[in-house]
Symmetry: none
Subunit: 217 residues, 2 copies
DNA sequence: CATCGATTGTCACCCGATTGTGACCAGCAG
DNA sequence: CTGCTGGTCACAATCGGGTGACAATCGATG
């Protein structure tokens, strides 16, 4: 879990960062708002622990900017005074949670955890063709309920054929899309890879040859 | 709904337990703090109804221990005197609600119900995959009923793999999400960590390698 | 503050799978 | 029969991942 701590007081900053690291989180630390903004463009954080009173760019400003950018990072705002009014302000700025100083460290940890528990992105759908399925995210190919394991090239070729959805795909197109520039078009690489792929997929055959036109599934 | 009643006065204890059972709850009953602590390690309760004045281990102590353990059980504290001061103390100790004696039984029921509802939402942040379970909050990993202890990095990697839900996770992604900025992408750190993780998890192997694609669980 | 063990990053080396390659074979159309 | 397209095979080079050793660092403990 990736966390950015933004806090200008050295002592407190390192204490927070150290504590969160101790909980097993990957923590980056910056001491002002400007740095916070650049860091959040470079890295993807799950949570930003943001002190409100920062020199230079104010915490509120950082928070607002993140919200404007539609940053996926959740913001936990730290503030000296914890009044209802502050809380409302903070949440209106786009903070996801609010914690007043002084705070109990275990509470900070709990809240960071809670914020990081974001709904995991749904897995993209798998391809299916007859009894063949290919799941791009999991990198799994099955024939019926039998798992088929493929080498990276074989997998990529099969994925491309499935994506073509029945259209015939020429050897040139495969070379273009599946291989990189280093591929030598004057050799039999594609033929060979298709052969190996067919062998691994077993019977009945799935990949048809279209004379002069390439391959189709 | 699973409830533990901790109350040293026999009469009152059985009355409460009986009443809650009558409301359809599964109630366990103990008469002192020490028993309460052992029971809560054995079973997962939704709510603990806890008398404050207990012989031996005091109610406050029980409450604090539960909080320290990050127990998911919510605590409803019962107390003879219901002063503001008591209430604040109780809540600071980690109790989730507070009820002064004498109380109206219907109010007790209502509060237990309310607490149970509250508990059910953020309760299950534990991953499971086959015989493997990982509890992020407690930082506990088990294989079947055998506890596995992992270093922080190993734990974080495993958590990430489990969160990916079978998706293949590349070494780059792991570096990005589990390590902080100081990580050097040109070395074999991830490989090594995976190797150590595999060794600790034992047989049968759980983490699969996806050539060119990273790791999958 | 010194010490000891655990943790972690780094490197050198090993190994098997993968892949590109070209020679050769098979089927088919003209 | 001939020429062409595509399939098959064996081989060698390469690559990606696994392993074990080592050192630096961290953290707990006396």
């Amino acid at each position: 879990m990736r966390v950015l701590v933004v806090e200008d007081h050295q002592r407190l900053a390192t204490a927070i960062a150290g504590g969160l690291r101790h909980e097993g989180m990957a923590v980056d630390l910056v001491f002002d708002g400007a740095d916070a903004l650049t860091r959040t463009t470079i890295n993807d954080y799950d949570v930003v622990v943001l002190d409100r009173d920062l020199p230079g760019v104010h915490g509120d400003q950082v928070c607002r900017t993140l919200a404007d950018r539609r940053s996926p990072a959740r913001v936990l705002m730290l503030t000296a005074a914890d009044t209802i009014r502050d809380r409302v302000n903070g949440l209106e700025l786009g903070a996801d949670d609010y914690l007043g100083k002084p705070f109990d460290f275990s509470e900070l940890v709990a809240r960071v955890r809670a914020l990081a528990r974001r709904a995991s992105a749904p897995l993209p759908p798998a391809y299916a063709r007859g009894d063949l399925t290919l799941d791009p995210a999991r990198r799994i190919v099955s024939r019926g309920d039998r798992r088929v394991d493929l080498s990276p090239k074989e997998f990529a070729v099969l994925e491309h054929l499935l994506a073509a959805d029945g259209r015939a795909v020429s050897a040139e197109e495969l070379l273009e899309r599946v291989w990189d520039e280093a591929a030598n078009p004057f050799t039999t690489t594609v033929k060979t890879t298709i052969a190996r792929l067919r062998a691994r997929l077993g019977d009945p055959p799935l990949i048809e040859t279209v004379r002069e036109g390439g391959y189709r599934i």
